[in-house]
Amino acid sequence: MEIYLPIAGISINFFLIIGIGGLVGFLSGLFGVGGGFLLTPLMMMIGIPPAVAAASDSNQIVAAASSGAFAHWRLGNVDFKMGIIILVGGITGGTIGVQLVKVLRAAGNFEFVMKVVYVLMLGLVGGAMFAESWRTIRRSKSGAAAAGEEIGGAKLGQLFAKLPLKMHFHRSGLHTSAIFPFSIGTTVGIMAALLGVGGGFIMVPAMIYIIGMPTIVAIGTDLFQIVLTSANVTLQQAFVNKTVDLLLALILLAGSTIGAQFGALAGKRLKGEQIRILLAVIVLALTVKLFFDLILQPADLVSLAPAKGGGH
């Protein structure tokens, strides 16, 4: 069954999109992370123009994160003060990011920069995750006590906490500087626009290990800021680049919602380290694929640069 995506301007198999949405949803249900960082590259592989893929993923993330954010808000897991500071950074970053997309598209190197950032980010995250879960598995076998990088993160946290603009964060029980939360918000905001990711896989560890927030508050606050950061990116992409394909986003949402339910079920049968090492392998495999895209000679040296507006 083919479906015509109005903004992407292509006709594509409906079940292929819902299947990819389902796969990413399954993985995000299994691993408890957002799937944005997998979704954009997969969309590109099936022929969705990169800019449309990133913008529509942002739109899909708004939907996927909003139900979780709402649930955490009702449970009181959102530190609004912290969330708003990160959000101010996220909106600043997102706005910069969308303009960056515009400039890069005009110059014909959006896809290149996107892939470079992906390779760096996924390589780093995948590598760190792999190393960490590998150590945990080794340690649990040898029975040694857990310790290590948390101390490094905490040291960094103490350093950032000493910066000016100190504030009291009641919900997180912290008295710390607002500069780091703002900066990490900006960084993740730029990445959200460039890559179509929510950024939870960077934001949550940063909140827990560096800022020192309680885990559950970190997750709730992260979801809160993701909804609004992604909403901002979606709006800006719609205004500036006109690349949001709402139809694509809704089909992805349907797939990922169903997939996430199965993922969560499967997650209960696997151990934490096993799950993480599996995710690390997937992320590293994707990194290698994207890296080869960058260094192997492309089949076609001449390609169409996007016209004004539209997805092509």
């Binding site: 109005p6 014909g108 719609a238 006109k242 960058l294 260094i295 076609d300």
Partner: protein, 265 residues
Amino acid sequence: MRKVLALAVVLGLAAIFASPALAFTPEAQQKVITAASKNLIEIGLSYRGDEIHFFGVNPVPGSDLIIRLTAEKSEEVKLSVKGRVGPFWMTVKQYDVTGAPFMYKIHSTKPLDQIISPALAEELELGYKAVRSKMKMRLARGEAAPDDGEKVFNGLIKIKEKANLYNIVEDPKRLEITEGRLFKHYFRFPAAATEGRYQVESFSFRNGELIGYGKDLIEIKKVGLEHWLTRISQDHPVFFGIMAVLIAVGAGLLVGMIFRKGGHH
């Protein structure tokens, strides 16, 4: 004085009539009567391209036929040329290309060069060579190289052929003619053929000279949800953006309610 003027006018007219340019004006030829299975293609939700069948009567039995499909609008495209930078392949220069048709397909009963002379092909804009000479390219970024013209043109043809927007089929099997007179064939419009007006022109040749001409107009337009989403997103981006976000939030909350647990992101 008046006589001289009249003479000049007569000579001028004679010169115009004698000039080969006018002799080839397609409209001045005998009419090739044609009919299309439809003249309107609607892009709906399940659109994946379409096929239109054409029928026609060759004015002189046994003459050769060349049929050309083109988009009415010619495209302004920017083409990126990739090159090696260190270990990476990235865009190193860009060309603004104008004058190339968005879509260009030809069906003919024989190879074009066996039907018409290169000069006539050029004049009637039949064949890739003619497309090439009408196309204009301007370097937008980077450094030009002597073989860029060839490279960019071939690159464009490759992109277009891959998308099934360009092709040339010189095969009598593809363009059937019954008893030299009644011909039929079809053009495939891929999903990538966007909204706009297209024309299908039938040229009839005898001994390398144009003897008949006919034209059909085809329109492609988006309808329903596709039309609405495209129009809103391009013409009212602010409204579209807000709508996209609100629908996403609504859908997310709805899904959360259905599954109750719903908390992944």
